[in-house]
């Protein structure tokens, strides 16, 4: 007994070392052997909270990269949503057919104006990325414009805040169709014409994309009715709307690519010619 006690007092550091080292090496061994079992990990409540703070700083540093990742993710999800809008009852359709109706190309705004009568937005995607003239451009919460010029790496979009712009829209409650225009005055207020005075339209009603055009996907919220009064001389409303997205502060947009646009257009041209 005495000798054991003597041994312990003499070698207690060594004994402790062996114990701790065996413990640590067991952890190392387990972390190598079983991928999912990590005893020391960052999923605990305490470490989680601390790492949250660390992450906040890191997130800020990697904001650009994260934004890009999120945008790609958004693109993927939007594809899914568009797919479901086009085919409302998709239970009978093969889910992984790979042929969605609408394709989205994420792009970053390089240049943007809002103070001219025809405002152009430059994005960093061009013909190399599949952008074509005449395609629609949307943001995560509204319509942005239509592609008018395409170079190899960049494209020019005529924003909806342009007097030349004309986009087919639909009043959500009544499904009545109208045209979104801009009168060139206040860049935050656009006008809709073509909605009949007889329709029960109220302030704060939602305006969606028309949906049958081949440019924009359906069911995208475009604007909120800001002000309306029946026009004395015509049978339509004089309607002011506010866009749901702030064109001025946008930084990321999606170019909408309708895979069947060409087919649709040629069919319609054929019909007009006949």
């Amino acid at each position: 007994m005495r000798s054991i006690y003597y041994l312990f007092t003499r070698f207690y550091v060594l004994i402790f070392f062996v114990l701790l080292e065996v413990f640590a090496l067991t952890l190392v061994y387990k972390s190598h052997k079983y991928q999912e079992v990590r005893f020391l990990n960052t999923s605990g409540a305490f470490t989680g909270t601390v790492l949250d703070y660390v992450n906040e700083v890191n997130t800020f540093i990697h904001l650009g990269t994260n934004n890009k990742i999120l945008m790609e993710e958004n693109t993927r999800l939007k594809k899914l949503v568009a797919y479901q809008n086009v085919y409302p009852d998709d239970s009978s359709l093969p889910k992984n057919s790979g042929t969605y109706h609408f394709d989205y190309i994420p792009a970053k705004i390089v240049n943007n104006t809002i103070n001219k009568s025809i405002n152009y937005i430059t994005i960093n995607k061009g013909s190399k990325d599949g952008v074509q003239k005449g395609l629609g451009v949307i943001s995560s919460n509204g319509v942005v414009g239509i592609v008018t010029n395409v170079s190899e790496n960049f494209s020019l979009i005529m924003s909806v805040v342009s007097v030349k712009s004309l986009i087919g829209v639909r009043h959500k409650k009544t499904n009545a169709l109208g045209n979104l225009r801009w009168n060139g005055e206040d860049p935050y207020t656009l006008q809709i014409d073509g909605l009949s005075k007889t329709l029960p339209i109220k302030k704060n009603d939602t305006i969606l994309t028309a949906g049958f055009s081949s440019i924009f996907p359906p069911e995208i919220v475009v604007a909120i009715v800001k002000q309306l009064e029946p026009d004395e001389s015509t049978s339509f409303y004089n309607m002011d709307v506010r866009l749901t997205n702030n064109i001025n502060t946008l930084s990321y947009v999606y170019v909408v690519k309708n895979e069947k646009k060409k087919e649709l257009d040629s069919l319609q041209i054929q019909m007009i010619n006949e």
Partner: protein
Amino acid sequence: MIYPLTILLLPVFTPRLVVLLLAFFTGLIIDIFSNGGGLHTATLTAIGFSRSYMLDTFQPRSGWDKLDVPNISQQGVTWFFYYSLIMFTMHHFLYFFLEVFSFANFFSTIFRTFLSLLGSLSIVWIISLFFMRNTRE
């Protein structure tokens, strides 16, 4: 990887068990926050254990003084250079071989060890020089 410095710079006559436990828990904390899986704990515990033997071997001719600290200001640049070099080399070798957990790709592991060692030691020496004071004079 300059965290072994916290253990290396403890006063010479810190009880050995205290050094060992400090090393162990430092490693544990690092592991918890970096998903290390016991890697830092194992290496740093080994460093904490071997430190006292290292100090015994490298003691000055007159022996250690009660309040001595094995840092650059008290022991001088040359002494600290060798001390940190040996300890960090040991630490990095242990760390990288435990990390790959095999002797396969032996030379690539050695290569990574030396690269990392170079970076760590440069930082350690720069930091040490910042805190250097001529207490000897």
